[in-house]
Structure formats: C-alpha cells, structure tokens
Amino acid sequence: MRCYLNNMLHILFGLYIVFFSSLSFAYENIIIPIPQTLEYDKAKATLGEKLFFDTILSKDNTISCFSCHNIFTNGADTKKVSTGINNQSGITNVPTLFNAIFNFRQNWNGSAKTLANQAKGPITNPIEMGHNFKELISILEQSSYNQEFKMIFGDGITEDNLVDVLAEFQKRLITPNSQLDKYLMGDENALTQDQKDGYELFKSKGCISCHNGINIGGQLYSRFGMIKLINNENFGLYNVTKEEEDRFYFKVPSLRNVELTPPYFHDGSADNLFSAVEIMLRYQVGRDTSSKEILKIVEFLKSLNGEIAYVK
C-alpha cells in the first residue's frame, strides 16, 4: 500500500513538473520592436496633419486635436483629464496617440474599432469639440479644405473622408528605436543593468501576460483590479456592451513611452510610475513586491521611450 502511494505521488509530481514547465515560455518574440515606418497615403496624411492642428474642428473654434494630443512630446497631455470647449473637463485620462495604430481597439472602453471610428468621437462629443458633422462639413466646404479634399476624394468632404485623413495622419505617429527595441534587436548594451533586472521582474511578476506584443499592451481588455477591485466610478466596457460581466473591464494600455504620459490609468488616479506599478502589482497580479523591485521595473519602463517618427 505504501509502495502504491509512493508511486502515485511520483506520478503526480511528474504531472506537476510537466504542467508547470509547460507554463514557462521562451520569452523570445513576446515583445516585438516597432517598425521604423509604416506605409501611408501621403496626400491624405498631409491633409490630416493640417486638420489635426486646426481648431476649425471644434464648435467654438478653440480646440484642435493637438490641444489634447501633443505630438511633439508624448502624444497626449499630462493632465488627469483634458479640457474641452467652454472649459469643460473630460471624464477619462487622454490616451496617447503614439502607436495607437497598433491597438486592437481605441479608447479606454474599446468603443472605437479603428482610428477613423475613434476620430468621430471627440469631434461630436459635447464636452470635447462639441460639433456635428453636418455643420462642420458645411464650414469646411467654405474654406480652402474644399479644394484639397476634392483633389483626393471624388466626393469631396464627407464624414468618412474627414476621419479617414485624420486616421491616415496617425500612421505617422509611431515611436521606433526605444532602448528595449534596440536590446531586442541584439544591442546588449542598450539596457542598463537595472533595466535588464527590471525586464526580468516584468516577466516573472506576470506583467507580461497582458503587456506584450508590438505595443506592449493594447490587445485585450482586463478588469481593473483582477485580484481585488479598485474603487471605480467608470464602468469601462460595460458602457459599450451593457452586460454586467463587462463592468470595470478596460483596454489594457500600451506601455510604450509610459514614462512620458503621467498621470496613469483611465482616471489618471496614479500620479507617477512608481505608484502605478505598485497598484498594478498589488491589485492586478497579486504580488507583494519590494520597493527595490518596483524601482527596477520603473527603470525598465523608462527604456520604452521611443523616437517620435513624426518629429524626425
């Protein structure tokens, strides 16, 4: 009997080893470097660029896309929430436009499938630009934009053409050549020792299970507080699906250029990276982590700042 039990234990232990070793994944190719450029339609992107900086898109001619998305610094702003027309405050922290093209959906609740869909939101949102397309198109038709659109599109200025050029411009807003990308492409010295340690912790503490791929995030939804729910007034994906199961689920954000985009989370509730990492480790992955380890992860996150291809 004892011999039988021993054998059983050995078999179970074997299963244990097989199962858990199957979990350990070769981490190669789990984060993919950003390409140097993306193909885009130059004429559309140029027109999109002009519109991007133009306050004509807002009802009272005060707000442009650039007002909330500074594409010379971080692709967003550094406020908790941005300010729209008539000094109204937004309800979520502005996500960066940098590398947004690589996200599986746009907005924190994933309500927009594409960049073009996303562009429609702020233009018509009463607390952002507060316009309506009918009126906006009529204003644009009285301007030099009319001819410029006609040179690209047979049907001139339409809602779809308008957001199409804005989306095309955003293909230029990528940030290649981060230190991590260089490291992944073979430059062993691209990361400092602390950053290398931080990268190992980033993987071993489980951050990598959601933050991976080309955008180091941006490819799935996750509950804000997988282990323990974090106080939250925003319902996330629930606002789109109206299904209880989706309450407090948000799109996992990209971590590229994260050092440059404080404050953090959909509500901008974490002022700095240290505090954001600490909250995520405690509530999202359920690990107790020392301050020293958190600091190393923060150092690693700093290696994700890329070069702004648009400025180059």
Partner: protein, 236 residues
C-alpha cells in the same frame, strides 16, 4: 409597281434588322450582367473561404491551453473577420445581390458579435490565469522558501491540485475545499495569505474560462459559413 413595293420591303428589312440588333444588344447586356454576377459571387466566395480560415484560426485559439499568449495575432484575426463580413454585406447591398444571401451574412454578423465578446472575455481570463499560475508555481518566491515544512507541504499539495486540474484529475470544487481548509487554519503568514487570495481569484477566472468556452462551443459560425458557401456554389 416594283417601285411601290421596294420601300415597304426595305422597311420590313429595317425592322427585322432592328429587331435582331435589339436582341443582340440585350443578349450582350444580359451576358455582361451574368458575367458581372459570376465575378461578384466568385469574389464573395473567395472572401467566404477567408472567413472560414479565420474562424478556424479563432477556434484554435479558443481551444488552446492556458499559456503565455502574444495577443497581436488573434486580435488582428478577430478584427479581420469583422471587417471582411462588413465589407461583404455592404458590397452585396451595393451590387444588389440576392436578399437571402445578404440576410444569411447579416445573421452571421449577429452571431459573430456575440462570439467576439465571449472571446474577449476568454482572452482576459486566460491572461490572468496564466499570470496566477506562474505565481502559484513559483518555487523560488522568497515567501515560499521561508515557509516551515508543514506549511510548505500544505502549499505544495494545493500546487499539485492545480497541476492535476489541467489533466482532469481534480475539479474546481475539490481545490476550493483545499484552499478553504488552508484558510480555516488562520496561519499568519504573508505568503500564505497572498497564495490563498491569488488561488481564489484563479478559481473564479477558471470558472469564467469554462463559462466562456461553454458559450463559445454553442456558437456555430462554421456551419453558417458553409451554408453560405453552398448557397454561392449553387448560384454560380
């Protein structure tokens, strides 16, 4: 006399010629339309084949075991399916393809929208489950290494149960019972408390994975796509 009839004969010839000309032109237009329809249906048929491939890829992802997943590829495939389907419906409407065909596509779109939502839930739960399992299996955790022999045996037993679960040897209730009995001991140890917290969360996400899998298994896109394909083959 002849002069009197000639214009009439010419007149008849003219009408016969005109009649044949009309027949010829109508036939040409008809053939062109048929050709255009065949081209359209064949193009749609190719796109349906793409949808079948994408659906099969997505199903493979659904049935994958828990592991570290780079979600870029599956996210692209999920979006591609949606985009192609939207395109086929719009194109079908513009080109006035058969209404029953467009209805079939619209029906798939409705079913797919539910499937997509279930997959998104599955993605989140699987990502968390992987993450929790790596924590549970980590034998180098300082908290784990600091445990005394008795406590380590208790933890190892639960670790073993989780491993056994993936081979169908244990079920969620059995593991839950083990975790509850460990919790009832009230051991004041930071690692054990956290281990219990993560294990409980893992069990709850396992339940969500099972629920999503169950729902996904009841969503049949494949036979609907094959049905559309059969229909297109008949039309062509």
């Amino acid at each position: 006399m002849l002069n009197k009839f000639l214009p009439r004969i010419y007149n008849i010839k003219f009408w016969i010629l005109a009649f044949f000309l009309i027949i010829l032109i109508s036939s040409y237009i008809y053939i062109q339309e048929i050709k255009q329809k065949i081209y359209l249906y064949s193009h749609h048929n190719n796109q349906i084949n793409k949808l079948i491939e994408l659906n099969s890829y997505i199903n493979d992802f659904v049935n994958q075991k828990i592991g570290l997943v780079v979600f870029d590829d599956i996210a692209t495939k999920i979006n591609s399916f949606e985009t192609i389907l939207e395109y086929l419906i719009d194109d079908g409407k513009i080109n006035e393809l058969d209404k029953s065909y467009i209805n079939k596509l619209t029906n798939i779109q409705k079913i797919y929208s539910n499937k997509k939502l279930q997959i998104e839930r599955l993605k989140s739960s699987k990502a968390f489950a992987y993450n929790a399992l790596t924590y549970i299996s980590d034998n180098n955790d300082l908290g784990y290494l600091a445990l005394n022999n008795d406590n380590r045996k208790r933890i190892d037993f639960i670790k073993l149960k989780f491993a056994n679960l993936s081979f169908g040897g244990d079920d969620l209730t059995q593991i839950k019972n083990e975790i509850d009995s460990l919790q009832s001991l009230g051991i004041e140890d930071k690692y054990i408390k956290n281990f219990i917290k993560v294990s409980n969360a893992l069990l709850s996400y396992y339940s969500q994975i099972n629920l999503a899998m169950h729902r996904l298994n009841n969503i049949d896109i494949d036979s609907n796509l094959k049905n559309v394909k059969d229909y297109l083959t008949q039309v062509m």
